[in-house]
Amino acid sequence: MKITREEVLKVAELAHLELTEAEVTKYQQQLDSILEYIAKLNAVDTSKVEPMAQVLAETNVVNPAMREDVVIPCDVAKDVLTQAPDADGKYFKVPKVIER
């Protein structure tokens, strides 16, 4: 197996995902076969290849310059907060994080 049950649980924890027992078992099997497939990349010699992060970097057409640093009004707080599951005035509300 390329991926163990413990690794699935660890990664789910990192990704903040609650999984059921059935999901853990199923994902372990499915990810194992996907990783098995992905392992075909090991056959490619990449010792002299730079990793590509940005597809058009070399043509220097994307984001060639920083924009001017001017202040633009952005008065959208009210609109944005209408979408929050829980808000209070200007704030998003979340469960208590710090114990007194």
């Binding site: 995902l17 609650e18 075909k40 990349l41 490619v44 990449t46 290849v49 209408t82 979408q83 469960p95």
Partner: protein, 486 residues
Amino acid sequence: MAASEKKWTIGAVRAALTAKKISARELTRDHYAQIERDNPNLNAFLALCPERAYAQADKIDAMVGRGAELPALAGVPVAVKDVISTRDVTTTCGSKILQHYVPPYDATVVTRLEAAGAVILGKTNCDEFAMGSSNENSAYGPVRNPVAPDRVPGGSSGGSAAAVSAGMATAALGTDTGGSIRQPGALCGIPAMMPTYGRVSRYGLIALASSLDRIGPFTNTVSDAATIMGLIAGRDANDSTSALHDVPDYSVSLDRPVTGLRIGIPSEYFGPGMDPAVRHNIEVGIGSLEKLGCKTVQLKMPHTDYAIAVYYILLTAEASSNLARYDGVRYGLREAGDGTLMGMYRATRGRGFGAEVKRRIILGTYVLSAGYYDAYYRKGQQVRELVTRDFREAFMKVDAILTPTSPVPAFKLGERTEDPLAMYLADIYTVTGSLAGVPGISVPCGKTPDGLPVGLQIFGPHFGEARVLQIANAFEKVRAESGLEN
């Protein structure tokens, strides 16, 4: 086939409005009537916005009334994939986690289409967060293929493809990350275009994989695709990755003869695994371009076979980061869980996301995690460079590359849902161009003996949209006389 009395084109809408044969309001009403009739079966639309649509239609009718010059898309009914933000219109991304999300702003593409007179009818169904190749990963049920309702429309932009194919909209916007415009276009039998990376602003597009995502059109004709591309392409101050290149007038070059153009045929796209009927139609299609004077050149693109593996590393890595924002705090679903903040995060995400999204988040988190980063993510980026190099070298020899869009025509609903890897392989001919950032179109290339549409894919070099559209248009014009029905 879901009956459509008439498939409108942009030109036909314009002519009918100008001649006062129909008003924009009547045209909008007719489309909503058809949606009301066909959508319960096809499930292509998730939300409709009739108030907004009729307000826009009335504006157009007022312009017609006073004899004003009409903008390019005046009165054209358009559908928008539900991963693209629309102000005051629910935008779910096909996910339960955004079931009640109403964006406070419009995506740039929506603003630009409406400014050109388009009537936005509503939002189309898609695989959850655009993750899928069959539309079966939508939290709101699959879309059915209008050509064969027991089959998938392709994905992830299946609703947009089905809406245009069934005549419920004259054009639609979709998004393409690994094939999500081109593959459903092929499976539903309509032109579908993915522009160069950065050609069209992604502002307001809810992100899947930011180094791959693109927005593009579904239309009934290649000429309509050219019109829409001309309107949505171009620099946008709100998207720093949008390209500075001038946008050419795609309609000017559309009808130029293709004589003498060099067309590359990469052998890697014609291997085993391709449906024989697809192969037959693609060969006929290539033959018809040869008759028009194109010169075919046999190509080798040796890293093609690695593209799916690269894609599922990079895509899942980027997606796992992008989808970290759905945490129950700022928008969307919140599940209390055990009452703690961490418990709330875990419960919200665990219950709000569907199976494929969770699978990809786990894979993406895994390939980025300590100890695996070099083996997977870095390796993936290196092989992406090699896949892109294949394209760069090819375009030194040819003007365009022709391949099938999909190895198979539309498959049956449920046929591939149990095997994620089999589903991933549906994108085998499209992900290469996604990784390389080049533009590509899928143009209808006849049907199989079972009556299922086949798509011919045309890739061009970076910012070579004009060339891609020109060849697609030339092919579309001679398709019927080549014996390829559509």
